[in-house]
Symmetry: C2
Subunit: 235 residues, 2 copies
DNA sequence: GTATTAAAATTGGTTAACCAGATTGGTTGG
DNA sequence: CCAACCAATCTGGTTAACCAATTTTAATAC
């Protein structure tokens, strides 16, 4: 049998076809929540793909809460109806690699909220880790060095201080895409870094003094440049 | 050798220890962005765990953009510095299963925004799929049936109409947790469903007439109950 | 005929062996 | 002395065989 290395997108295409087939199977067989899917081996044979591929597709659907596998027992349709399932799978299949614009738009949305929440909920420990990140950032900028990492850490510290575990998780999820695109489009500018010091200080002070409105406002100012830049990128 | 089935949390604990060890290794060996990690086989031997566990940990770190593996070549430290890396890994290790409160808080945040964006960007196709979901929802409610699925589809259709692929992705990611907790806490109430029809109609009309402010406002009304309910849950 | 129990088949999970491409080091021909 | 080439080795990716727990089936005792 011929073996070949699959690119990410090729592999994804296979996953999507398998997901489609699993969906069709559930619909055709009228499987209801709680019903058992055929075993991985049967599916791999029926679909003409390796069992590994089937497992991967199942894991994806499990990630989005559509299937539920129980060890030594089977894979089951989760407790959401067929209608919701079909709708969600449709969206999952349509998922594309995120574009820069949507990433920035989402990041700004998230961070305006985390800044606000941080001002309401920050503990002294949160405040200290924000202070540390901020000091490290300032030191590097004043020394003329690149400080993207310290910048990132400051923003993550704010997310931590927001006390919202889901938002932290979402921030971490979108961070790789943000970093990649920052590099690609050379967003970071040395000039901006200097301005950034004051902007960061303003945000910090607002959060320190428990002023949610001001914190959000200062974060908005901080993102103004980025916002404009992002909306000037060609679609 | 004894084999045993690991629970999800046990497996996660192993992953976290391996991630920690990889982080320590990078720090101790002063690996810089672009440097190559030892091979999976060497790591599995050095850490005393199976190669599969090592691969899983590497995949996690790759998911968050910290490592980058190239087939038939090796695993490399991604192009983010050690400082950012340490900060991010710390957050990743701290990640916990999301609590209901943070999920709802985040969902409301996201949906207020998607409603607004949908009012600005919706195409006629978007409008039609929203209409379909809405009609299905109304029909079921009027028939006295449970309509949680149709409700979900309507909200997903709005997210689609927002034209922001990242927000769609994040919505899908938090949806399983939302559904699980809705069941657990019996959030959905038949009384609310009737009110929901009008609220959904209001949101739809606002998006149809390209009124972002109104769309956000109507979405806020729609979430008012949920918001209060969520803040009354014990921490 | 029914309940009980044991054995056989089926399940998802795991692992060790294997694959082809990439890398590396040394060798050879110019 | 250097460039080109080749074979040995190392890499992540893949697969087939294996494991234990479960479920089903069949046989047996009552």
């Amino acid at each position: 049998m011929k073996l070949e290395i699959l690119t990410k997108s090729e592999n994804r295409e296979i996953q999507n076809t398998i997901i489609t087939k699993i969906r069709d199977l559930i619909n055709f067989k009228n499987l209801e929540p709680g019903d058992k899917l055929p075993s991985e081996r049967m599916l791999s044979e029926k679909f003409g793909v390796s069992r590994g591929n089937v497992r991967e597709a199942i894991q994806t659907l499990e990630y989005y809460g559509i299937l539920k596998t129980i060890p030594q027992s089977g894979t089951f349709v989760a407790n959401i109806g067929v209608i919701a399932m079909n709708g969600m799978i449709e969206d999952i299949l349509r998922l594309v690699d995120p574009d820069f614009k949507s990433l920035v738009e989402t990041r700004i949305l998230l961070e305006l909220k985390t800044a606000r929440l941080a001002a309401l909920r920050r503990t002294n420990v949160d405040l200290q880790s924000m202070r540390n990140a901020l000091d490290a950032y300032t030191a590097k900028v004043l020394n003329g060095e690149d400080a993207v990492q310290e910048d990132l850490l400051f923003h993550l510290a704010i997310a931590e201080a927001s006390g919202n575990s889901t938002m932290i998780r979402l921030m971490l999820i979108i961070t790789p895409g943000i970093l990649t695109n920052f590099e690609k489009y050379h967003v970071c500018d040395v000039n901006q870094a200097f301005i950034g010091i004051q902007e960061h200080e303003d945000i910090y002070k607002a959060i320190e003094s428990n002023d949610p409105k001001l914190a959000k406002e200062k974060m908005k100012v901080h993102f103004k440049m980025l916002y404009q830049y992002c909306y000037n990128i060609k679609d």
